[in-house]
């Protein structure tokens, strides 16, 4: 019966324009069973993504092409359960990781790769994005710090790492909270003059980086634009508007 109702939904044609769950039809007033079960399956996949792990070996192998040192770092949250309940711990580096930072000199940018809430997102998207972004950064003579792979990390851990490496700007690429249609969304947060204790207004965020969302080409362009503006104006955050598409008057 639900199949039948679904077929007569006049909104079917609009489904080509969005991944949103439109035109599902009704059984009575409710969602047809097929869609109800599809939703449950997507939720199950997202739950699984939350508990996925950073593929540090695979990632490190892929990052070799950039000829940069790679640091393996870990937050103070020793496992996922702790990570979910204690975000404060996910924002700080553990002792062993802090010690690793002391050996490096002043640099322009540190690129940090962290699992966040979906290691799956990072495992799948990092190479595609960096293959476009890093050459852009090098083309304007920006000096890159070692690439940092962080387990059980949250966004603000980039303040500790940027500060520890004396980088002028930190860029963290991190798995976002998985949604139903996207368990593989990666976010990018950039902070000029990173120092522990900063909050969201000091950062610029570009979200939903994945092939079916903001694709690598647009994402790399956007990040590169914001980084250049941040260096030009020596700031990031709410005062650094994304004016790449300016008003026409």
């Amino acid at each position: 019966m639900s199949e039948e109702l679904e077929n007569i939904s006049p909104l079917k044609a609009l489904q080509a324009f969005t991944a949103a769950r439109i035109g599902m039809g009704h059984v009575g007033l409710s969602v047809p069973l097929k869609h109800s079960l599809e939703f449950k399956l997507a939720h199950a996949n997202a739950r699984d993504a939350v508990y996925s792990e950073l593929n540090t070996e695979g990632l490190a192998a892929g990052l070799k092409q950039f000829n940069l040192p790679i640091l393996h770092l870990h937050s103070e949250a020793e496992n996922r359960a702790k990570y979910l309940q204690r975000p404060d711990l996910g924002r700080k580096l553990n002792k062993a990781s802090l010690d690793q930072l002391t050996f490096y000199n002043d640099t322009d940018i540190v690129i940090i790769i962290a699992d966040g809430l979906s290691a799956t997102a990072v495992n799948q998207n990092i190479n595609g994005l960096l293959a476009l972004l890093i050459p852009k950064l090098l083309s304007v003579k920006l000096k890159l710090a070692p690439l940092c792979l962080v387990q059980q990390g949250r966004v603000a851990i980039s303040d500790y790492i940027g500060y520890g490496l004396r980088a002028k700007l930190s860029l963290i690429l991190i798995g976002e909270r998985p949604g139903l249609s996207a368990a593989d969304s990666m976010g990018a947060y950039l902070t000029y003059s990173p120092v522990p204790g900063l909050t969201d207004e000091s950062r610029n965020c570009i979200s939903n980086i994945r092939p079916a969302g903001l694709n690598y080409y647009f994402a790399a362009d956007k990040i590169f634009y914001l980084i250049q503006e941040a260096f030009k104006r020596k700031l990031s955050g709410i005062n650094l508007k994304d004016n790449a598409g300016l008003l026409d008057h």
């Binding site: 006049p10 324009f17 439109i22 996207a182 939903n208 709410i238």
Partner: protein, 459 residues
């Protein structure tokens, strides 16, 4: 001032009002993260027993965040209406709870008293109330607002049509808007969370919804939920801004972390009012809040998250909003761990907001790292419908593909209207009837391919 209570041989001491409120708060993960919550079940109830005996007048003299340090405390104290307070001035927090529940306290009296109630009083009394008390009192409160239609009438219930798209694609957004309108969604607002906060992108979306609204003469309002500075810039350029949106918190420092303060909100409020776009009313602000934002910004001053949330309502009521939406389950399990905590928080927020005179809606939602699912949301939605919530979200299939969380769907609103007999905003319902989307009883109809909304290319 310290508060003491003895149970058997055990003496509990609470050093100040802030501590007493925190310890009396029903358990939630955020208060534990902030290390402000009670350390045992007994201590929590003892704190509630102690709080019940505190006179409401104390709240006017003991600021939980110092007056000198916080502009929201100053707002609360300076704007307090002592005449409205008269009706409850002799009560304790416990007495206030009984007063709220008594049959003599009706919609009219609650409305008259609202300006005399501070957010801390509302938070305090909520901590003594069970879920059913929160529902029973909220249902008695009536808060009605207007822009192009009337929201919050008894027996009515509205939805924000939330047609987000991960890349702000016009056709993608339009497709969700059409699905929503054909499901009867969108009488609170058609509100898009933009993926990009650039003025040009926001302008583009504002123009698209405005074209649609004018073309079909829809009695509703639109909003692109950009940062207030972006909206202000656009309003000053005479963009079609119906509602000015901003996320707000309950401490000055929280708002600083959002890049705002009261003066900035005032400036944007005046700029939006000046556009004069409302037809039957001039409630032009749309605020979003949510427990945990102050802790998240490390700006809570040792105040529990529910009390911080109630203080955000002081900010909201200063600007006569059309809509206030507590986005209850968005923030994650470190603040509200599971379905039980999310449901409790939503009922508290809805109650406190209504008590303070705000047009409360709730984003009935959860994220995929919280211990919650659709069954919890069904429970909460039904409870809020009973409590007289002004509006909830309407999202295709509950799945926001831009913000990556689950909220209420177009279908959910149909369910709630049916089981509780709730109507749309009246002006919007008339429009739906004219369009052949609902019948004379307000029940949804299946439209055919030839429907105007499907045939027309407004995007």
């Amino acid at each position: 001032m310290a508060y003491k209570h003895t149970i058997g041989s055990k003496v509990y001491q609470f050093n100040d009002l802030k501590t007493l409120l925190a310890k009396a708060s029903p358990y939630r993960s955020g208060d534990e993260l902030a290390t402000v919550c009670a350390e045992s079940y007994q201590e929590r109830v003892v704190a509630q027993i102690t709080l019940a005996d505190v006179p409401l007048k104390v709240f006017l003299n003991e600021a939980i965040i110092p007056y000198e340090k916080d502009e929201i405390t100053r707002l609360i104290i300076d704007d307090h209406d002592s005449e409205a307070f008269q009706a409850i001035s002799s009560l304790t927090v416990g007495g206030f709870r009984d007063w709220l529940l008594s049959n003599e306290t009706d919609t009219f009296l609650l409305k008259k008293t609202a300006p005399g109630i501070t957010p801390e009083m509302a938070a305090a009394v909520s901590k003594l109330m069970r879920n059913q008390d929160l529902i029973a009192v909220a249902k008695k409160c009536g808060v009605i607002t207007r822009f192009r239609n009337t929201i919050g009438l008894k027996g009515h219930f509205s939805t924000r049509l939330q047609p987000n798209h991960p890349t702000d694609d016009r056709k993608g957004i339009a497709a969700s808007i059409i699905d929503g309108l054909l499901s009867g969604s969108g009488d609170a607002v058609i509100g898009i969370n933009p993926a990009t906060d650039s003025p040009a992108a926001v302008m583009n979306l504002l123009r698209m919804i405005d074209t649609l609204r004018q073309q079909f003469d829809i009695p509703t309002q639109s909003c692109v939920l950009s940062h207030i500075t972006t909206t202000l810039e656009l309003a000053n350029k005479n963009a079609p801004v119906d509602l000015c949106f901003q996320s707000i918190g309950g401490t000055e420092q929280t708002n600083r972390s959002f890049g705002i303060n009261l003066a900035l909100i005032e400036e944007a409020y005046q700029a939006t009012l000046a556009l004069n776009r409302g037809t039957i009313g001039n409630n032009v602000m749309y605020f979003e809040t949510g427990q945990g934002s102050s802790l998240s910004a490390n700006a809570h001053h040792g105040v529990d998250q529910q009390t911080c949330e109630a203080r955000a309502y002081a900010v909201a009521r200063k600007f006569n909003p059309l809509l206030v939406n507590t986005v209850v389950g968005f923030i994650g399990p470190e603040y509200l761990y599971d379905g039980k905590q999310i449901i409790r928080a939503a009922l508290e927020d809805h109650f406190c907001g209504k008590l303070l005179g705000l047009p409360m809606g709730v984003d009935v939602c959860y994220t995929n790292h919280a211990e919650a699912d659709q069954d919890d949301m069904d429970n909460l939605l039904t409870l809020l419908g009973v409590a007289g919530c002004n509006f909830v979200m309407g999202i295709p299939g509950s799945d926001d593909i831009m913000l990556n969380y689950q909220s209420t769907s177009f279908h959910d609103a149909l369910y709630l209207r049916k089981v509780l007999g709730l109507k749309h905003a009246p002006e919007f319902e008339q429009w739906l009837q004219k369009q052949g989307i609902v019948d004379d009883n307000g029940d949804i109809l299946q439209v055919g391919l030839g429907h105007k909304l499907l045939a027309d290319k407004f995007y």
